[in-house]
Amino acid sequence: MCNDCATSDLALLEPVFSEFEGDKHALVTILQRAQEIYGYLPTDVIYRIAERQGVSPAKVMGVATFYSQFRLKPVGKNLIMLCKGTACHVNGADSIAAALKDELGIEDGGTTEDGLFSLKEVACLGCCSLSPVMMINETAYGSLTPQKARDIVRRIAAEGVAS
């Protein structure tokens, strides 16, 4: 069906389809599940979801590109979510962002060449008292300074994958 995209194991989607069978309004949830399975939303997965939900691929693409949670490309092993909430902004999130971008050599939304890190600036993580904050793979790191942020990333890189 899809000429120029990844070939994913679409069978993994079947339990998700069964769970939401007949639910016309489950598209966002199905996409969330699919992203949990594949780490991102490959094109063939999007086409399959469209087919099974009885909607056009354009509709699924529209939803997948509307919400910032969804990714159309794979992410690195460690996803750094840097909070750009107001409290973090006031407490210097921009300088943390600059340090991380410099350290990793990537921009917001990018993934390092070795596939180890992806950087994503996010709206408030809700840990404002610890600002500036970043979250790497569900672990929050607070009260950052540019140097502290660099050190954390270096440590994770040295360990390979964060625990």
Partner: protein, 681 residues
């Protein structure tokens, strides 16, 4: 419920509509237009464009007319300052991200806004008569203007960024020649007579154009000219090797055939006083041109053997062979200087110099004219200015030239020539032709106020003078002499003004608001290069012997191929575009709120629909008809916020597989972002 009627007031007008109607529908019933860009009767109101906002009494917010239901006693104001401000801002914001390219740069840069792109396309399609008709919507003498125009259109042509501009001027006269040769002349519809009489003084490009327009509109037009034939400078200034007299004559005759009366050898002041002539007509246009050569203001210029450029050209044009001797210097760097030097060669001069105080790069003459003069043996003396005409017994023997160098740029950016102190050069000459400019002759028009330059003062918009019913245009007014198409542009405005005047109104031109695009070479990097058509010419050695036309004209094949090079910049949808219509209606500044821009692509690949992302205003109309009416849902919005675009691309074969080619999306696009192409094979 259905039959319940609601009464409301819109812009002071009482309206009664069924309950449940929207303000938009009620306004429509009352004959009041509320602009809107995303509304469609067949679909649920969407409310994205924000252009239909109106004020409703006692409501603190602006309301969207497309979605707000009427209620009893509602008082709506569609023209309130606040609503207009929000509406205009919406349009300015849209224009700031809309690469509309409403009109091609060729058309925009033509002083008369001739629809070049349209007639070039017609030529590309072999529809030569249509092409001539298109030109004649603007002026009546395409074969003549095509030959002489310095074509500002080509200077703006974006094909220049690929390799070279389209030969727009040559295409124009090709089509005109071809149609005349085929006996396929353009049919002009003349309106029923208005009984009004218009007198036009001057039968040059301006006078002829005004006569052509006014005659079409049913007025009785008489054109007076001091020379024996009509055509003005086209006949008496432009040498025949550039514009053969019969070509011009045929176009003049076609104007006469509309019922225009031509009176030649008639000079104001000599044959009739201007005030008297005014009495013969309901309105008068003065378009008597600029027929006096400017002097060089150097010692010795009153000697025998010193000619004014246009005086010399006129003498040749009426059939004289002026005795200019063997060694001739033409002073000046414009097209008249080129006409004069090349005419001097043809009259028999052996050594012809062009003396110009700057360098070739600064010469105002067309490059091709300079090159052709060089081919014909003319020698150029750059960075020289006449210092004194030398002579004995009142007869020219030579000229002392001051050596110049280029100094600081002037206000137009051209470097100013400055004398090199004490450096001079002398050349031996039999005559000097001063082609450095021309002025109008105000004699006989004492009643008309003049500018500081001595030209007739006319309104820059409608070319009315301070005398009731007297209009003036062309080289004789305001800034003075310019190019023919410039005079034609003024004549068109003056004709509209005269027509309005005769009908008891007043004409004020409105500059149309358009969305223009800024482009660079990079935008066309992927275009294959196709050489510009070469104009076949007679060899120099042959052509200097006579006044026959130098250019031999393009073949039909060459012309069509040339026309096909056109990039078709101007928007196909200009006439129907709602966005540009509202922009004009609300006097919208199209560039004020520019910023980040949707660049994107033009898709033409797979279906018979072309989509141009640069023109899309994300009104979502196409997406909604595709889903809601065509029931296909092929199109959708992708991304969020400013980055939102309509997808999929029509070049994605999988994504568009279900397209029914119903074109509802194209039909409902308020701009030119979508376009129907000829069916793909």
């Amino acid at each position: 419920m259905e039959s319940e009627i609601v009464n409301l007031v819109i812009d002071g007008k009482a309206v009664s509509v069924p309950a449940g109607s929207t303000i938009l529908a009620a306004a429509e019933k009352a004959g009041i237009e509320i602009p809107n860009l995303c509304f469609m009767k067949e679909l649920k109101p969407y409310g994205a464009c924000g252009v239909c906002v109106v004020e409703v009494e006692k409501c603190p917010k602006l309301l969207r007319a497309c979605a707000t239901r009427v209620s009893e006693g509602m008082v709506v104001n569609t023209q309130g300052e606040r609503a207009l401000r929000a509406r205009r801002l919406a349009l300015e914001l849209l224009m700031g991200d809309h690469d509309g390219d409403c009109q091609g740069p060729c058309k925009l840069n033509c002083p008369a806004h001739t629809d070049c792109q349209k007639y070039v396309k017609e030529i590309a399609e072999g529809r030569f008569a249509d092409a001539v008709s298109t030109v004649m919507e603007t002026f009546p003498i395409p074969a003549s203007i095509g030959r002489v125009c310095p074509h500002p259109c080509e200077k703006a042509c974006r094909r220049r960024l690929v390799e070279a501009p389209i030969s727009i001027a040559q295409l124009k006269y090709f089509a005109a020649d071809r149609v005349r040769a085929d006996g396929n002349a353009h049919k002009v519809n003349v309106a029923a007579s208005t009984g009004k009489k218009v007198g036009i003084i001057g039968g040059g490009p301006a006078g002829l154009t005004a006569a052509f327009k006014l005659a079409q509109w049913g007025h009785d037009v008489t054109v007076y000219d001091q020379m024996p034939e009509m055509g003005g400078m086209l006949r008496y200034g432009i040498p025949a090797y550039r514009l053969p007299k019969d070509v011009l004559k045929a176009e003049v005759d076609a104007i006469a055939a509309l019922g225009v009366t031509f009176v030649n050898n008639f000079k104001i002041g000599r044959d009739a006083e201007f005030s008297k002539l005014r009495g013969w007509f309901d309105a008068v246009i003065v378009a008597n041109g600029a027929w006096k050569s400017s002097g060089m203001r150097v010692k010795g210029e009153d000697m025998d053997g010193v000619w004014g450029g246009i005086d010399f050209l006129r003498a040749v044009a009426v059939g004289e062979r002026p005795d200019i001797g063997e060694r001739v210097a033409v002073v000046g760097g414009g097209n008249t200087a080129m006409d004069a030097c090349r005419t001097a060669v043809r009259v028999g001069a052996k050594e012809v110099y062009v003396v110009y105080r700057r360098t070739r790069a600064e010469m105002p003459a067309e490059d091709i004219e300079i090159a052709e003069a060089e081919e014909e043996g003319v020698k150029f003396k750059f960075l020289f200015a006449p210092d004194e005409i030398l002579g004995t017994n009142g007869k020219v023997t030579g000229m002392r030239l001051q050596v110049m160098k280029l100094g600081e740029p002037d206000e137009r950016g051209r470097r100013r020539p400055v004398p090199v102190p004490g450096k001079f050069e002398e050349i031996a000459l039999d005559s000097v032709i001063a082609a450095i400019g021309q002025r109008n002759d105000p004699e006989g028009f004492d009643d008309l106020p003049k500018t500081e330059k001595g030209t007739i003062a006319a309104d820059e918009g409608n070319f009315a003078t301070s005398l009731n019913g007297v209009f003036a245009c062309g080289d004789t007014v305001n800034k003075g002499a310019g190019i023919a198409i410039g005079a034609i542009a003024q004549a068109n405005e003056a004709a509209l003004a005269v027509d309005a005047f005769l009908r008891g109104g007043e004409y004020r031109p409105v500059k149309p608001i358009v969305s223009e695009r800024d482009v660079t070479e990079r935008d066309f990097a992927d275009r294959p290069k196709i050489a510009r058509a070469a104009m076949p010419q007679r060899p120099a050695a042959e052509r200097i012997r006579d006044f026959d036309e130098v250019n031999l004209g393009l073949s039909a094949e060459a012309a069509m191929a040339e026309a096909k090079r056109c990039l078709e910049c101007g928007c196909h949808d200009y006439q129907d575009c709602k966005l540009v219509r509202y922009a004009n209606l609300l006097k919208t500044d199209t560039k004020r709120l520019r910023g980040a821009f949707h660049t994107g692509f033009v898709e033409t690949e797979l279906v018979s629909i072309e989509r141009n992302q640069r023109k899309c205003i994300t009104c979502n109309q196409c997406v909604r008809v595709c889903e809601g009416i065509a029931k296909k849902g092929i199109l959708g919005l992708v991304g969020r916020g400013f980055a939102t675009v309509v997808k999929p691309e029509f070049r994605d074969s999988v994504a568009i597989a279900g397209c029914a080619d119903c074109h509802l999306c194209v039909d409902n696009c308020p701009t030119g972002a979508l376009r129907l192409l000829a069916k793909k094979a």
